[in-house]
Symmetry: C2
Subunit: 535 residues, 2 copies
């Protein structure tokens, strides 16, 4: 209750457009900047109170230590500071519930007052994490005194959208664990809160399954695989940073690699007469599974069961959302299978109504995910084909045409924006300004409809991305998307954003993240000698 | 004594060209590979004995913990392993002297025997570090049993050259500490042992000096500076990894940024009539200091004194080598200074004999470094201008023409190879094969002359390099240089090296280092979906 009162009290203090913007990315919803300077020693204590009493949170204990490292990377002078010195960062949370889901409240306040007090308030531990991130961006090393300093400020902040994601593709290139760990770190710096893990695709299936142990024979090599313990460690690191990990097991399309260990799940003769894309069959052949084969659903039941623990909030991926794909289904690959033809005839479908076969798969896959307490997320094509035939809990992820989101939400379905023209990071010519301008509410003004817009995702597809260029392809452009998804709808000026974005890019560099210069496209190199803050 | 006997005993066991090459980079001098498979648990103990008795080494204690993390990045199964299991990695060193200099003995042996014993032997703790690195590259995660395994082997190894460096330029772009820390980590993986820190140049002077506190006004910005504590932390991290840190304070050329805080060290009217490079004066104007001004030498005395602690093995940079630059001196900038003309007349030099003025500076700068117990390292032009007029302890670094190294060593001077055609990493079109083929002994067959070839450096100049692209520009090509400098002169086959180099690049990726694919030039991206081990 005290927290809510505090938020309300702060609202009149500041307006984003009217005052100087702080070097905080994404820009907080409300802030009032002071001018008094405090010293904050690297030995500062972090204290936690829960609902007004002392309490503990394993997640916040880890976060305190992590942010001590982030805030104080350089050695400070041992001399007595000239400014008032902060003794404790007080963190107040209303609850230590460490369950993270779509509806988790991430709001927080940060008060840095002239009496050298720092107080972070939040309803949840995840809001406190966001407050710690904001605080960490306010702390600066002063090279003259060689102490850490910050200026007084009052901040009241909350995200505009609940789902602020980054899709990463570990199928076209395998990403080792340290790479994913750093990605999660960097996401938390921009307050992104969903890792959409596009973990398998045509090219490779590198996930361990105990019930179908031959599945990861579809990996690129023996070393390019994720054990279930690896997956658990990624999900755990995500949780510690307030990042949901949403897996995607795409189907029925993009399934060649599933068939390496279990060839029977692919349609017989899928490439007869070169119909199934004009290529030699191989990892780049875009083959869908054979939806007429009951084994396909046995396998999905087993695999999804392992991934979800068969109950809400459980399993390797405890997130409520489970992405079942559904994009880019090549009907041509189904044309030469006698089994498929027979199955369709038995269903009473016309011989060329592959749409029905597609829907048959999607319904079954969706039902399996639902049975394990998950909301199924599907790619846009599923909506484009089947629209309101889909169960109402379906979440549609838009990647082709922005305005499909209007259509999806107008019909009462939830949507996530990831349109390729504006938010695909592998489109190297897409500028940060384009990422920045892409508003999920475009052409959506009805408040009820707006509520169905969960947020969006920037997408890092893996065809020409691996550990060597992940970070400079993702950053700084993903940050432009992150601010769009977090900050007020009114924060739209690229002129205002540019110096802050350069500052944030340099902050990423200072934290060891290989973010590219703001002034080059894609993962371009610096064009000549320069200050990080000027390029 | 036992260690030397062991090395001799192993020599006949193996020959690099005759047997299958292990996936170890750089290739050890001598190895014999077994076939028995051992399990090595992540809880394995590391024990140290010193000269036959138990002993301790703070440096090795840190290394044991670091290599535990490197060797065991994934969670292992708790089930009982099927293979004999290693209980202890025994490390025997003859001495725990933790001083690192050019003549430090880095030889080591690794024995992995079928009775599940692992023994690393070395005369010094730095040799033991090299052995730990080799061992870490032999350990593989077995995805079937989810345990760590390695095969039996006997290895006796030592570097071909004592000086195996990487030059990094933090002036054209500032590199934050975490970036330098990761660079040191990655260098140790390739057994590189010298960070040549090109810390200042025309474009920026970001080093703290207590005696000349205005010097770092020449930094790009207030945040792009190194405190002396930062420098100490880099040198300490280097030492812990067996990497000497050799600073370069380049002069008389490339000094514009020195003049931001102390304009009087630059020649008056250096850009009169646009002589001093046809540019507007600024950070890209390649201005030498005014060697006629005694203040220049006062400043160098103060600065070098701070950097060296004024005594051998002391100070921020305890290394015996101190690079004083001497390259690319633009005489044109001296032409319009009345003070310089008067000084030269007073010396009795002809009005256009700027060579003498250059030599005057080099002699004084060299004398200051020598006075503090350092060997001065100079760029090739100093040799080209002054040859055998230089003090005999001068070390010449060749960057223009490989064969200057022949000339330098023929006259009894020590040389380091860093020729731009073959070993400049900012030359993005230079292939790894070119890096690999560049032998420091080219055209040098006399053993006495060969002894004067200290080794070489691959060079990462900073014009288009910063945190965003450092790692994928350096790696994997620096590894090709590293093997040339470590392994036997007979190891020259690129066909043999290619699969090992791909493996090493993937190992760097697995350790979180953004090494680029081997099959693209420079920092090129992967060209399409693929296994790391195939690109």
């Amino acid at each position: 209750m005290r927290l809510i009162a505090l938020l309300v009290a702060l609202l009149p203090l500041a307006c984003g457009a009217a005052v100087q913007q702080p070097n905080i990315w994404p820009l907080p919803q409300e802030y009032k900047l002071g001018t008094a300077v405090l010293t904050i020693p690297s030995t500062v204590a972090f204290s936690l109170s829960v609902d007004g009493s002392s309490g503990s949170s394993p997640l916040l204990d880890l976060a305190f230590e992590r942010y001590r490292g982030i805030m104080f990377p350089l050695q400070q002078s041992n001399e007595k500071p000239l400014n008032p010195s902060v003794e404790t960062v007080e963190v107040h949370v209303a609850s230590t519930n460490e369950k993270l889901q779509l509806d988790t409240d991430e709001s927080y306040t940060v008060q840095v007052s002239a009496d050298a007090k720092i107080v972070i308030g939040a309803p949840t531990v995840f809001g406190a994490l966001r407050g710690l991130e904001t605080l960490s961006q306010m702390v600066e090393f002063d090279y003259d005194s060689q102490t850490y300093q910050l200026e007084t400020a009052q901040i009241a902040d909350h995200p505009r959208f609940a789902h602020r994601g980054l899709l990463v593709d570990t199928s076209r290139h395998f990403l080792p664990l340290p790479t994913l760990q750093r990605l999660l770190d960097s996401m938390s710096f921009a307050k992104l809160n969903v890792l959409h893990w596009h973990i398998v695709d045509n090219e490779s299936f590198g996930v361990q399954s105990h019930s179908y142990p031959k599945l990861w024979q579809g990996a690129w090599s023996k070393r390019e695989r994720y054990t279930q313990m690896d997956i658990a460690s990624v999900v755990k690191l995500g949780l510690e940073r307030g990042i949901r990990v949403m897996p995607e097991f795409d189907g029925p399309g993009h399934s060649y690699a599933w068939g390496v260990g279990y060839p029977q799940i692919l349609p017989a003769d899928f490439n007869a007469a070169g119909h199934c894309l004009p290529r030699t069959p191989g990892r780049d052949t875009d083959v869908p599974v054979d939806p007429s084969n009951p084994f396909v659903y046995e396998l999905l039941e087993g695999l999804f069961g392992e991934m979800t623990g068969k109950a809400r909030g459980k399993g390797l991926f405890p997130d409520d959302f489970f992405h079942i794909g559904g994009d880019e289904v090549q009907f041509d690959c189904w044309m030469h299978s006698a089994a498929i033809s027979a199955f369709m005839a038995k269903q009473g479908w016309a011989p060329d109504s592959y749409d029905k076969l597609y829907m048959y798969f999607v319904q079954k896959s969706h039902a399996i995910a639902s049975g394990f307490g998950r909301s199924a997320v599907v790619w846009e094509e599923v909506w484009n084909h089947f629209g309101t035939q889909l169960p109402k809990d379906t979440v549609v992820e838009i990647w082709k045409a922005h305005d499909v989101l209007v259509n999806v939400t107008a019909h009462g379905y939830r949507g996530i924006l990831a349109n390729s023209n504006d938010w695909y990071l592998d489109h190297l010519d897409t500028t940060w300004e384009t990422f920045y301008a892409n508003d999920p509410f475009q052409n959506i003004t009805n408040p009820d409809q707006q509520k169905l817009v969960l947020g969006g995702e920037v997408c890092m597809w893996g065809e020409t991305m691996d550990t060597s260029d992940l970070e400079n392809t993702v950053w700084p452009r993903a940050a432009a998307g992150a601010e769009r998804l977090w900050s007020s709808q009114s924060v739209t000026s690229t002129a205002d954003a540019l110096p802050r974005l350069r500052h944030f890019r340099c902050l990423l560099n200072r934290r060891g993240i290989a973010a590219a210069p703001v002034d080059v496209n894609g993962r371009g190199a610096p064009t000549g000698p320069n200050s990080c803050y000027a390029e």
